[in-house]
């Protein structure tokens, strides 16, 4: 009990150092703290259509953590180091997609897809649970809009609002200047706002048409 309590009170860096010395429980605690945000970050980056690829990348991130346990030194926060690994892997993945033209296809086909988050499908259920469904619609709409963002903007947005990093930490992870990151974040918010407006307008138009 005391060891578990001790591990829970330890910082991420202390846990990683303990794991580097062979403490398996430290890694379990560390994994439990970060598995959700990093998984969502990867999933949002790759999109809902690439769930399997996201899981594969998620595993790859943690395997790199395991492999680098002995060489880990406390130069920055553990989470910064962890997300930098994830960021680099995602960049490699985006490069592969770009080379194959899949990324553009993903972006292009997104507005035309007819999945469950489409305004047309959502608008069909507005009669019974209009307000609840509207909120659900907005949540799925904005997540879809995030997927439609340019990768750099999406990266900055997810690191800032999904993982909870400060602007300076985002700069450190993506290795970009603060002005660049701020610009990306500003454009990301603007894009999301426009995207969400368009979706809401489309749903309203569709509902009116149905009515």
């Amino acid at each position: 009990m005391t060891q578990i309590a001790q591990l829970q009170s330890d910082t991420d860096e202390a846990l990683m150092l303990s794991y580097g010395k062979g403490c398996q429980a430290a890694f379990a605690e560390l994994y439990g703290r970060h598995k959700g945000p990093i998984y969502r970050y990867v999933c949002r980056q790759l999109g809902a259509k690439h769930q399997a690829k996201a899981q594969e990348l998620f595993q790859e991130i943690w395997l790199r953590v395991i492999d680098n346990r002995a060489s880990y030194t406390v130069e920055a926060k553990f989470s910064t180091w962890l997300y930098r690994i994830a960021h680099n892997l995602l960049i490699d993945e985006h490069r592969k997609h770009t080379a194959r033209g899949e990324h553009l296809a993903l972006v292009d086909e997104a507005p035309n897809n007819n999945d469950s988050a489409s305004p047309e499908v959502l608008s069909s259920n507005q009669d019974n649970q209009e307000s609840e469904l509207h909120n659900d619609f907005l949540q799925r709409a904005i997540k879809h809009c995030v997927e439609l963002l340019v990768p750099q903007q999406r990266d900055a947005f997810l690191l800032r609002h999904e993982a909870g990093f400060s602007a300076s930490q985002v700069c450190e992870i993506v290795e970009a200047k603060p002005e660049t990151v701020k610009t990306r974040l500003r454009y990301a918010m603007s894009q999301l706002r426009d995207c969400l407006h368009s979706k809401v307008d489309a749903s309203e138009t569709g509902g009116a048409r149905q009515a």
Binding site: Y31, K35, G36, Q59, W62
Partner: protein, 251 residues
């Protein structure tokens, strides 16, 4: 008219129900991988530790063997050094003594050798008068050694050897010179006891037996001797009488 979304609205909207988690099998796979790596590392570490212990024990055994081998080597070396230390001084110790004896004793022996021809007649005379055979042998031995000295300058150690045996080469000469006095002692004793007749008869007897003692008459007996010569009881040898005449003429 659609609602205007602020940045906060967008963020809140995004974060609502945003609780997607990795599947359970991925969690298990990652944790198992982490555990395997740590356990494998511990096994490797245990193997290394046991391997190191084996190596240490082997090294100790080798070291012990080397030490025992070295012990014999060291003991042999020490024995050799001791043997050299014990035996070497005999070689180095004799040479300085030979040198010192030559340098110290040769000059001392040389004057004796020079004296040898001079003392030779005395020695021969003493040989004739010798009463004791042992004394005669010692004198002869000393004379021979003295004669040999000039011929054997480099063998001065051998010339010294009689000295080392406690023989004084100068003693025989002293005795030779003292012997006539010894012969006259009895006469002097009688004279001191005022036995002039006994002294005269003893002197006459001695000079008859040893005519060469005419030249060695001691001063206390000189008056008695002259009286006997005047009385005609003693006849001086010719050479001596001639020399006496010369002395008288001078006077």
């Amino acid at each position: 008219m659609s609602k205007q979304f602020s940045d906060d609205d967008l963020i809140k909207l995004y974060q609502q129900n945003n609780d997607a988690m990795p599947p359970k099998h991925i969690d298990d796979a990652i944790l198992a991988r982490a555990a395997d790596v740590v356990n494998g590392e511990n096994k490797i570490f245990d193997k290394k530790v046991s391997g190191n212990k084996d190596l240490e024990s082997k090294a100790r055994a080798q070291k012990a063997t080397k030490t025992s081998n070295r012990w014999w080597q060291y003991s042999g070396l020490a024995a050799a050094i001791v043997a050299v230390a014990v035996l070497a001084p005999w070689q180095y110790y004799q040479d300085p003594i030979l040198v010192s004896v030559e340098s110290a004793e040769v000059p001392a022996a040389m004057p004796k050798a020079k004296q040898a021809p001079e003392s030779a007649p005395q020695i021969e005379r003493v040989e004739i008068l010798a009463e004791d055979e042992q004394m005669e042998r010692i004198e002869v031995t000393g004379a021979r050694l003295e004669r040999a000295a000039p011929e054997q300058k480099a063998r001065a150690v051998q010339a010294v050897s009689p000295v080392m045996y406690g023989i004084n080469l100068s003693e025989p000469n002293n005795e030779l010179s003292a012997k006539p006095n010894g012969m006259f002692k009895e006469i002097l004793a009688k004279l001191e006891n005022k036995d002039e007749a006994g002294a005269q008869s003893a002197l006459i007897k001695l000079l008859k037996e040893k005519p060469e003692y005419h030249d060695d008459i001691p001063e206390p007996l000189e008056d008695l001797y002259q009286a006997l010569v005047k009385n005609g009881k003693i006849e001086r040898p010719d050479t001596l009488s001639k020399s006496d005449d010369k002395l008288k003429d001078k006077n």
